[in-house]
Structure formats: structure tokens, C-alpha cells
């Protein structure tokens, strides 16, 4: 019998602790496949954030480091500048990147650090139990916005791609989603470009991925996928926000 599907060598042979229906597993697999397809696994250093995907340091089959909450872009810059021959990616959630780590991500983008950022936006703090994130939608319920996010008191969500696109620094910015097969394929294409750009010494690339958190959202996995397509991607439109390869032409 022919084996037609298996774990990519870019992921370790470990059971993942993510909840059923969580989007992290899909994005992990994409990155794991790309480490092999681009033949970069043996020269890659990955950064695991603080949050659900803190365990990414056990899952990606490459050298890994686990820095303080939100500081991934600074640690990435340190590794990349110290060892330019390494491929460096920072895997971060929305609490990590869009809340406590806003200064680090903005300045890494402004300096056009030659790193790849994988930004998981699931509109909630997953690990700590479903608190409001900077990306939580207006009216959306969380354990710290139990009556729904009231924008008069709790402000508006952060749109990271749009915000970073206002800077001259970044080379490539795209928002994707992993709610449908078609979108998963698009996400892989975007991430492949983001890693290839680093190989080509182009500079800062960030791929934002709208990702399901059924547990944090109080939904079934199927409902969560539907919610991304119908609600979340209406507030966070998918698409390319910066592509300097096109601007140059």
C-alpha cells in the first residue's frame, strides 16, 4: 500500500495539545511543510510566543527559542543580525503581537528586519482562558467583556496589517485565513512567499492568519469556520496590504 499523507519532517513526532478545531495545527503544518519544501529546516531558528502556541518550541522540528511575551520580533532581530545565514521566523498570537508586543512588531517592521512573522489572529486570549484581545470584535463576548466588547469603554480592535502598511519599512504584508481549503492553500502560498523573500534578503514579511478558536469563542469547530467567513473576515478583510516587489516595477 502506498502512503499518500504523513507528517512533514518539519514537525516533530509529538502529540499537539491544541483544542479540536483550533487553527494553530493547520498553520503549524503549513510552516512544517515549507521548512522542507524550501530546504531550510537545518538553517532555521523559530521563535515560540507566549500563549497557546508557546508549545510551538516542541512542535517545529528546527532550533527554537521561547522569549518573553511580545518580544519575538526583537529576539528575531538579534538572531538574524548575529547569524544572517539563518532563516528566522517569529510565530505570534494576537495577545503577544498586537497587545503587549506592539512596540516590538512596529519597530521590527519599520527597520525592515529580514525576518518572517506568522501572526495568528483569533480575536481572543486563548491560553489564559478567553479574555478580550486587542483584536476582539466590537460586541464580541469574552471573559473580560462578558456583555460584549463596548467600544465606548474598551475601544476598537487593532488592524495589524493596515497599521503596518502605513509604514515605509515592511516588504510584504498579507492577511489570510484558514477557514476553508481554498484559504488554507492561499495561506500556504503567502507564507511560502514570506520565507522566500527572507531567503532573497528582501526584508520584513508578516502574514496575518485569521484562525479558529472554538473554545474561546464558545462555538463548535464548524460554527467557528463559518464565523471567520461571515463575521471576522468582514471586519478584517483578506488580501495583500503591502508588496514592494510590485511597487518596484
Amino acid at each position: 500500500m502506498k502512503k499518500i499523507f504523513s507528517r512533514p519532517e518539519g514537525l516533530t513526532d509529538t502529540l499537539m495539545r491544541y483544542c479540536p478545531g483550533c487553527g494553530h495545527g493547520i498553520v503549524h503544518r503549513i510552516v512544517g511543510e515549507l521548512l522542507i519544501e524550501l530546504d531550510i529546516r537545518e538553517r532555521t531558528v523559530g521563535i515560540a510566543p507566549v500563549g497557546c502556541s508557546v508549545f510551538a518550541d516542541e512542535y517545529f522540528n528546527c532550533d527554537m527559542i521561547q522569549p518573553p511575551h511580545g518580544r519575538g520580533p526583537a529576539v528575531s532581530a538579534g538572531i538574524k543580525r548575529a547569524r544572517p545565514e539563518c532563516i528566522v521566523f517569529s510565530y505570534q498570537g494576537d495577545g503577544d503581537l498586537a497587545s503587549i508586543g506592539t512596540a516590538e512588531i512596529i519597530h521590527a517592521a519599520a527597520r525592515n528586519e529580514n525576518i518572517t512573522v506568522v501572526f495568528i489572529n483569533n480575536a481572543i486570549f486563548g491560553m489564559t482562558g478567553g479574555q478580550m484581545a486587542p483584536t476582539t470584535l466590537p460586541g464580541m463576548k469574552s471573559t473580560t467583556s462578558q456583555k460584549g466588547r463596548d467600544v465606548r469603554k474598551q475601544g476598537y480592535p487593532m488592524k495589524v496589517c493596515e497599521m503596518l502598511a502605513s509604514l515605509d519599512g515592511p516588504y510584504y504584508l498579507e492577511r489570510c485565513a484558514v477557514d476553508t481549503v481554498k484559504n488554507v492553500i492561499k495561506t500556504k502560498k503567502a507564507l511560502k512567499m514570506a520565507f522566500q523573500n527572507q531567503l532573497d534578503d528582501k526584508g520584513f514579511c508578516l502574514i496575518e492568519v485569521l484562525s479558529m478558536c472554538p473554545t474561546g469563542w464558545g462555538q463548535t469547530p464548524v460554527q467557528a469556520k463559518k464565523w471567520i467567513g461571515e463575521v471576522m473576515s468582514a471586519y478584517y478583510p483578506l488580501g495583500v496590504y503591502r508588496d514592494r516587489s510590485k511597487e518596484a516595477k
Binding site: E42, V45, Q66, I79, R81, C86, H107
Partner: protein, 355 residues
């Protein structure tokens, strides 16, 4: 004889760091250490190294975390408020057993304080500084020559024990010009051995993970106990100090850094007056030179601790001497700098009272 040059303390650090084979600097402007990043921005680039002016001290310490985890000698410098911001990163770095060098050109505090020289960050430097069970190796220079030589020593100790190292100086040492002898052969970074724990891609080996967390029950306790053994070894083997006129002394002044320079003048003035006074200058603040003090306390009745603070190192003196001797104190906090005559007055008061 090696080449000698008149230079600012802050510039001596830059040359010492480069001579120590370090080619990575990340930092954020703050007075009174700005000559360090300014000079680094030229010298590091000249030497083919990395210079990054960061968005904050938080980013700076985390860039060090990355560069040092990648196996390179990396350093930052700042002054008190900036060092406070770095404590999160220093705790993670200590928890991940990564060697880095942090230079603190201390200024008056708390808060924004002022920009005058101070020694009020002693507790922060010698008690870990951030959260969790850890210590940082802390060296206290008292001359531009030390500022040139200590970066090399700090990197060697940091790497030997896989632990962050601090150089605790102050605005006076940083801003003062003195002759510096380039006393050692500069280290070629390429000659430094690759670290067996460095993150550099897993070609031909198992992948490596650098982290400070371990959620599995009992394992963090084990890790911390192992690190505690390391600290015991450092405490046993790495105590450094200098003493002057201590052999026949009735009173020993204890001071480090700038205070020790001033106290040394006071001790010589006292000797000229026929008073049997000595000086003990701790060079490592952590590990504190407890052994020599414990020994001295068996024969010396009076110690005078001089600090540019309300009194922080005095606690370590009391612990080391186990309160066998009388511990007196003269402190100038908030950017105040003592002059030799006021220390001499204190010495005379103590010895007069003792008679």
C-alpha cells in the same frame, strides 16, 4: 609596554568590549551612558559588528537574548531606569542559562531621579533584579582601566557559568577621563569556540531549544536546584576584592566603585595621621567577597561602609561578618558624592569613640 591612551570611562568600555571579541551591541539612549552607544555606532560598524539603536531597553535586552542564544558575545548598556525595564529580559535570559553582558552606568533614583552618579542599584544588581530564583554575576570597576578590562572578564565568567553578567559603574566613572593601557591582546571573534548550546540551525545534529519555562510538574524545581548548585560554585570560586593597609588595621573601610576611589584617599589621609585604617574594595558584588570579610571580622572591631546610597551593600557586610563587628555607615544618596575629608571625619569619630 602596551599602548596607553587618555580616554573617557564610557569610551574605555567600548574599546574593552570590542577587544573582548564582542560584535553585537543593542541599546537605547539614556544619560549618563550615551557615549557608549554613540561610540559603538562607529566602532562596531568599523569592526564589522552589529549596532542597533532600539525602540526601548526592553527590545535591546531581547535582541541580546536572540544574539547570545545564537552563540555570539552580545552586550547592551544603559542607566538605572533603563536597567529596570530590562529586568524581564534578564530574568528570561538567566532562566534560559544564556551568557550576556549588561553595563549599568548608575544614576540617582528612584524613578527618573537625576543624572548624577549613584550606587543605589546595588540591591537590584545583586538580588537577581527580576522575578524568579536567579543571580547575575556583578562586577564593580573603579577606574577607566577596569572599564577596559572588565568586559573581557565579564564575558569569560558569563560563558563559563552560562549566566548573565553585569558591570555596575556610575556616571562619574563613565564621564571621567583617565589613562587606559590596552593591556591584553584583542580577541578575534572568529577564534572563540562555537557554543554547544547555540541556535544556528540543526544541520547534522539534534535540534536545540532555548527556553526558561517548563510546565511539567517537578521539572522546574529540579532545574532551579541545579542552577542553585551553579550559584554555590560561583559564590565559592569567584569572589574578587582588593585590600589596602588591612593587615594591622583597627578599622576597615568597605567601599566599591567610585566610593572606593574616594575612600582610598581618605584611608591614606588617616594613615598620615597615624590612624590604623585599611580599605576593602569588593570587585565582585555578586558573588560578594564574604570569605575575606568573615575572616577579617574575627580580628577587626570596626567596619565603615561607604556607599553612594542610603545603604544597600551594608546588608551583605552584616551577613558576611555575622554581626561580630561594629558596622558603621556613611552614605550619600540621590547623586551625592562623598569627599575624602568627610569620610576621614567619620573614621575619626568611630576610632575616637572606640578609644
Amino acid at each position: 609596554m602596551a599602548e596607553k591612551k587618555l580616554m573617557y570611562g564610557n569610551h574605555a568600555i567600548v574599546e574593552g568590549v570590542i577587544a573582548a571579541g564582542c560584535r553585537f551591541f543593542a541599546g537605547y539612549p539614556i544619560t549618563p551612558q550615551n557615549e557608549i552607544p554613540e561610540s559603538m555606532s562607529v566602532r562596531m560598524v568599523d569592526e564589522g559588528g552589529v549596532f542597533i539603536q532600539t525602540e526601548s531597553e526592553i527590545a535591546a535586552i531581547n535582541m541580546l537574548f536572540g544574539a547570545a542564544a545564537a552563540g555570539k558575545r552580545a552586550m547592551t548598556s544603559s542607566s538605572s531606569p533603563g536597567i529596570s525595564l530590562m529586568q524581564e529580559g534578564i530574568s528570561y535570559i538567566a532562566g534560559a542559562d544564556i551568557p550576556v553582558l549588561v553595563v549599568n552606568i548608575v544614576r540617582g533614583g528612584p524613578g527618573l531621579g537625576n543624572i548624577a552618579p549613584a550606587q543605589s542599584d546595588y540591591y537590584q544588581s545583586t538580588r537577581g533584579g527580576g522575578h524568579g530564583d536567579y543571580f547575575t554575576i556583578t562586577l564593580a570597576p573603579n577606574s577607566a582601566q577596569d572599564l577596559y578590562e572588565f568586559p573581557k572578564l565579564a564575558f569569560e565568567l558569563a560563558e563559563k557559568y552560562r549566566n548573565p553578567a553585569l558591570i555596575l559603574a556610575d556616571g562619574l566613572l563613565g564621564q571621567m577621563m583617565e589613562a587606559v593601557e590596552f593591556s591584553f591582546e584583542p580577541i578575534d571573534p572568529k577564534s572563540l569556540p562555537e557554543k554547544e548550546w547555540a541556535l544556528c540551525g540543526c544541520k547534522g545534529r539534534e535540534r536545540r531549544v532555548v527556553r526558561s519555562y517548563d510546565l511539567k510538574q517537578g521539572r522546574l524545581e529540579e532545574l532551579n536546584l541545579r542552577r542553585a548548585e551553579k550559584y554555590t560554585t560561583i559564590r565559592k570560586d569567584e569572589q574578587r576584592f582588593k585590600d589596602e593597609y588591612c593587615d594591622d588595621a583597627d578599622l576597615v573601610v568597605i567601599a566599591y566603585g567610585t566610593s572606593s576611589r574616594i575612600a582610598s584617599a581618605a584611608v591614606r589621609m588617616a594613615r598620615q595621621k597615624g590612624l590604623k585604617v585599611g580599605l576593602l574594595r569588593p570587585i565582585t558584588l555578586w558573588p560578594f567577597p564574604t570569605d575575606v570579610l568573615a575572616d577579617m571580622s574575627k580580628r577587626i572591631e570596626n567596619f565603615l561602609v561607604v556607599e553612594m546610597s542610603c545603604g544597600q551593600m551594608i546588608d551583605d557586610v552584616k551577613l558576611a561578618t555575622e554581626c561580630r563587628s561594629n558596622i558603621h555607615f556613611h552614605g550619600r544618596p540621590g547623586g551625592g558624592v562623598p569627599i575624602p575629608s568627610e569620610i576621614l571625619e567619620k573614621i575619626e569619630a568611630v576610632l575616637g569613640g572606640a578609644r
